[in-house]
């Protein structure tokens, strides 16, 4: 059913990551994204992977949830791995059969690709989705963009628009379901017939849905005016965001991870062994 689609899954909990300030988590996510895109050396990738593993363990989100989150990208993962392995033509030849030649560099770059994608998806979804409710996330975005308000960017309004949009997704989904059922009962056919006919059937959903969205918007704006809403100035928040010592630790650790990834890019795995050998 339509209702089962969840946009941004949040799993309430009480882990250190759940309790971290949303602004901290957004900045951490940015650092992780930056790190995944700058990493190139093998050592860097190991650091990256271990850091993402730490996030996952601290968040206490179940492995099954994370694996389910990876399911949509499984195809891309397999596809890119396949091509990386088959079409690399440098380094040591490991295996040859008919026209298939597999080189060690192909395997290594495939592994890097996999780590890159997994870290990207796992770190951002753990930080921004699994441990942060959408409303808190918009609060965080608003908090981070606040300095822009000084140059007249309507930060508060953007944040409000975003949280309202998130709030109304389930409502509109439910209404879509009802409208579809009602039009079906009048013989609308969404799955067969000519293209023209199907397009008409879709119109019978879109127009009532649009009308309903507009109705909600008008009702909501009137209700807000009646309750004295007057924009962001001087408005206090129910959930006060506070940067605590632990937030600073998280940020420093993430920054350190990013720095390590950049510095270690120059060195490969052999350098590590060389280090111990010396």
């Amino acid at each position: 059913m339509i209702r089962d689609i969840t946009l941004g899954q949040y799993f309430p909990g009480n882990s250190a990551l759940h309790n971290a300030d949303p602004r901290t988590k957004i900045l951490m996510a940015i650092l992780f994204i930056a790190a995944t895109f700058t990493a190139s050396g093998t050592l860097s990738f190991i650091i990256l992977f271990l850091s993402a593993l730490v996030l996952f363990i601290v968040s206490r989100i179940s492995l099954i949830t994370v694996l389910k989150g990876l399911k949509p990208i499984l195809f891309i993962l397999i596809f890119t791995t396949f091509f990386q392995i088959l079409f690399s033509r440098s380094g040591e030849l490991l295996f040859e059969w008919w026209i298939i030649k597999i080189y060690d560099s192909g395997l290594i770059s495939a592994a890097k690709m996999i780590v890159r994608i997994i870290v990207l998806v796992v770190s951002t979804s753990v930080l921004l989705s699994y441990t942060t409710s959408p409303i808190v996330l918009t609060d965080g975005i608003e908090g981070l963009l606040k300095p822009l308000a000084k140059i007249k960017v309507p930060v508060h309004d953007f944040a409000l628009i975003m949280s309202l949009a998130l709030r109304f997704i389930p409502t509109l989904l439910e209404e879509t379901e009802k409208i579809i059922a009602a039009q079906k009962s009048r013989g609308a056919n969404f799955s067969s017939g000519s293209l023209m006919k199907r397009a008409r059937a879709l119109i019978s959903i879109f127009i009532p849905l649009l009308a309903s969205a507009i109705r909600h918007a008008l009702d909501l704006s009137e209700a807000m005016i009646c309750r004295g809403y007057r924009g962001g100035d001087g408005r206090t928040k129910l959930r006060q965001m506070k940067i605590r010592f632990s937030d600073i630790v998280w940020l420093l650790a993430s920054a350190l991870m990013f720095a390590a990834v950049i510095i270690l890019n120059k060195y490969g795995l052999s350098d590590l062994f060389g280090l111990f050998g010396a």
Binding site: K178, A182, S185, R186, G187, N189, I203, S204, P208, A211
Partner: protein, 288 residues
Amino acid sequence: MPIIFDNVSYVYGEHTPFENKALDGVSFTIEDNMITGLIGQTGSGKSTIAQLCNGLYKPSSGTVTVDGTDINDKKNKKNKSQNFFRVGLVFQYPEYQLFEETVRKDIGYGPKNMGCSDEEIAKRVAEAVRFVGFDESRLDKSPFDLSGGQKRRAAIAGVIAMEPKYLILDEPAAGLDPTGRDDILTKLKQYQREKHTSVVIISHSMEDMANYCDRIIVLKKGGVYKCGDKNEIFSDPMALSSLGLSVPQITKLIYNANQYGVGINEPIYTVDAAYDAVMRLISGEDVK
């Protein structure tokens, strides 16, 4: 032939963490050529039953039989869309589904999907409009420009125009003012008397049930609590009250009066009937 529910259960979100059993083994019959009232508290499963009747939902177990055939039988798959036309369903707040440029086109949407010719559509629209008492001069207006009551009528007409053998209306009077309520329900009663079809009215107002229905099915938390003609249903008004359903005020009044020994023995659920009974009592006809 009637609509027969045989031991029907329905579970929302089956096999998900959100499982919710809405109906639990209900059996009843919706008889031909009369108005059946389906009543129950919010969440008792009325709307679910409505959508099982026309095949939008498939029972988790049990069968729904319309005109002698199981509508969810795989062999009747081709007739699936036919069933939408045979069992017309008017959803709650049906005005939210209007979408065409003109009311005329919107009412004609169902018949058009059935493949009716233009003349046939025009004929059906005219008839449906007459049944629901829609102001004909507004047929070429946009449905979005109508008042709430007129929108409701247009939407109901859209289903009546399909000339369904069974017409099911989910809370057709919800959200209307008292005059609008009475007017729509009266129109529906006239429609039934004229077409001799089967009409099902879903409501949680006992008053409406008493005034407009011939037979009543009372639901309680996903099961059938009671089922029968008006006299049977209203024989024990206090039991209905304990279900959270309002008994018609006049029934309650007579019931309380009887507690003081007034002695009106026939079931009373309309003011007119109460008037007759009291007059007879006063004139001494009923005195034992």
